[in-house]
Structure formats: C-alpha cells, structure tokens
Symmetry: C2
Subunit: 248 residues, 2 copies
C-alpha cells in the first residue's frame, strides 16, 4: 500500500483520479461541514462546483427537503440557506435533508476527484475512522488537499500527515511519497496543538477576522465523529461500513 498526497487540486486534471482511492481534505471548512452534516442526520450532500449549478439543482428539487449551503469569501451566499460553518449544520436544521454544497475550495476538489474508484471525505473530526477504513481497504491511496485558491494550506497538509501517521501505527509497511513524508513531518511539528496551528494558519486568520473563531475550535477536534462520507454518482453519503447492505 502506497500513500501519496496532492497538496492542491490545481496540479492535475480530472482523469488523473480514474481508478484511484482518494481522500479529500478541506479542514477549513468544507469537509468538516460534510462530516458534521452527515453525522447530524443529513440525508446526503451534493457538492457542486458553481453557484449557478447549485441554484439549478436546487430548482429541480422538491421544496422543503433541500438546503443550499456554502460560502464565497468565507461568507454565506445570497439566496442560500446556510453558510459554511459546521456549527450551523445542527440536527434540527438539516436532519433528513439533501444539502447542495458550494464552497470555494472543498466542493470543487471533490468534483475534480469524481472519477476516483473510491472517494472519501476526511477532516480532523473523523480522522481515525477514515484511517482504519483505508488500512482495511489495503489499497494505494491519494489524499487530495483542497488548499486555498489552488495553493498550499498548512491545515489540510497537517491533517493528511496525521491521517497517514495514524495509519502507520496500524500498518507500518505503508510506502510513502515525498509529499507523504513531508506531511508526516509537518504533523510532527504543527500537529501537537491543532487549534494553535489552525489559529496561526492563513485561512484560520481570515476566518477569525470574519467572525468564525468558534469554527476553528470545532474543526480542531480529532475523532469527535466516527463516520465515513463516501462519494458516488454526484452524491456524498454515509458509507455503511461492515453492513451487509452497503449503501452506495
């Protein structure tokens, strides 16, 4: 089993993902929102790569069961129901609902990786659950860091490093690419206090400035949630691991 990391989706095209097992990470905040929403009872998440398409999908859906969520420049988009703070995605608001999610980096990264054979969604909140599942799967895997506007984000890379470090504690035979070794080293340096790392990160500072300080604290919690979001045919759902009736 070999671990590789793309530090940003800008480096490759969609076909690069064909046949791969991919894990998308966008700690601040798209994948934290997806993990939270599914854990809090959302029926499914439909990631979209444009606001126009979000509106179109929403227009085709039956009223009441669909929620438009996401952000532009960290803030809620006009005409949307929710922003991109995981704290908004409470059971009361989203239970049983389909959420159409548009975000600047995360939802686009998922769409870009859509040709993957397996496509999982990870953040600090569900890190060990994803780690265990990948070790069980035993396949080469690629972590796709959503990054910020096409470039490196320290929080996504540290999360990727922590994911691989956790996996190595279960299986120390995993082969590592340059980027995987770098991410492991970065987790060693910056992963001791994830909240501090988030607060000092460029994107974290922007979120604090825009009033989302509590999101950093929420997103920093390792293993607070134990679900595996799985993307297939345009939709992210909970992967019912271990069930005989796998929900794909």
């Amino acid at each position: 089993m070999r671990a590789n990391i793309l530090l940003s989706p800008a480096n490759v095209d969609e076909l690069y993902f064909t046949g791969k097992t991919t894990v998308v990470i966008d700690v601040l905040r798209a994948t934290s929102v997806i993990v939270t929403a599914l854990n809090n009872g959302a029926r499914e998440i439909i990631p979209v790569s444009t606001v126009d398409f979000a509106m179109k999908v929403s227009g085709n859906a039956f009223g009441g069961q669909t929620i438009l969520g996401g952000e532009r420049n960290t803030k809620m988009i006009e005409g949307f129901n929710l922003g991109n703070s995981p704290l908004e995605y409470t059971p009361e608001v989203i239970s049983g609902k389909s959420i159409i999610l548009y975000t600047t980096n995360g939802s686009k990264a998922i769409i870009k990786a859509k040709f993957s054979e397996n496509l999982f969604v990870c953040c600090f909140n569900n890190l060990s659950t994803i780690a265990k599942h990948l070790v069980t799967l035993g396949k080469d895997f690629l972590i796709l860091c959503a990054g910020t506007a096409g470039t490196f984000s320290i929080e996504d890379t540290v999360c990727a490093g922590k994911l691989i470090t956790t996996m190595l504690s279960m299986d120390n035979s995993i082969e590592l690419s340059d980027s995987a070794r770098a991410a492991i080293a970065l987790n060693k340096t910056f992963g001791k206090s994830i909240l501090k790392m988030l607060k000092e990160s460029e994107h974290g500072q922007l979120l604090i400035k825009n009033g989302f300080k509590d999101d950093l604290s929420y997103c920093s919690k390792v293993d607070s949630i134990n679900i595996i979001p799985y993307y297939t045919s345009g939709i992210v759902k909970k992967f019912d691991n271990g069930s005989t009736n796998i929900e794909l």
Copy 2:
C-alpha cells in the same frame, strides 16, 4: 518583507508573477546546472519550454558558440550536446558559450515566471548568496519550486526552507506564509543531511537508478558557488551585484 512559496508552478498562470520578485528552485537539476554553468564561464543560459523551440533557437544561432543542453526523463535528448548533469558543464566545455536549456521542470518554471519584476535562480550551491541579495533587496518575494511533473518535490521545498531560514538569521522580521512556515519546518527535519534527503527523494532515487548518483552529491553542497543568476528578456546571466555597471 514577506516570504511566500509556490510548491509547484501548476497552481498559477504566467500573469501571477507580474511585478513580483521570484526565485526559481529546481535542485535536481536545472537550477544547479544553471548556477554551475554560469559559474564555469558560460556566457548566458536561454531556458526554453519545448524541445522544438530549443532546436529553433539553436538553428538561428551562429555555430560553435551555442550549446544545446537538457533532458527528457532525466536523460540527454537526441541532437543535444549536453544532458542535465551539472558535472558536464565544465569550463572546458562551456566557457564563453550560450546554452539553450530544456528540462522537464526547471526551464519551464523559469519561463512561467518570466513576467516577474526580478527573477533569480537558486539551488543549494548558491543559497547564501541569494539569501543575502534578497535581504538587501528588501522586497516581498516568492519562491517558485519547480517540483516534478506539476507536483511537490521535497528537495526544492527543503531548499526553499533553508533559503528563508538563512534570511531569517539576517532579518528576523520577515513575514511568513503557510507554505514558508511549512518549508522552514521541513528544512529543520530534512535539511540536517541534504545528501541523505536527496538520496531518499523520489527524484533522487530516479537519478540514482539512471546512473546520476554523483549529481546528488554535487547538488547537495551548500554555498559552493557565490553567483546570482538573473533572468531578463529571455536570458539568464550573472547578476553583477554591487557593480556600478549592472549587467542586466
């Protein structure tokens, strides 16, 4: 003064560099070749982004004064005079010559950054000379890691981290982006033995396999050369720092 790093040129387009002070790093091996060739008396380096263009430029030049150098898949290209090993660029071979250089990652990275206001070429060999010059210049700067096929290379990132670390020892007020802080941490982890890091890197292993083990040892030498290669109008020349007759 602010330090930022692009871990790969794939993330941005050419216009991104307009007005910027950029430092291109491709340790294995294009920028090590450029630094070596200029130090050994080459008149100039003309980086090109296609083999066809290399042939065209070469065809327009007068015979005897022009050398075609570079690689595809680490090896010399048919019809070229030299490969991409800095050890080939001896004074006997290249003194006074114009070198047209095509490489898979490095020469393309320089071309991509051509709209920069200032564009320097760096490797471990001339690291402190570049560091001092950037501190003297006092401008925000961007390090462009050439990477490998559009993705992360550990050797370029560690070199970038060492460059900024060296600059911080001269001016500790330099502001750092996420990627700059990450590169500094990676230099701390992997920069203690640069040769070891190069040998373990993906690109280093490919070079060893293809018979270029000695290149790693050469490219690992910090501060063996004290020149500043400077790109302007399609050509990389030695920047005559401190002279009243700056050669631009």
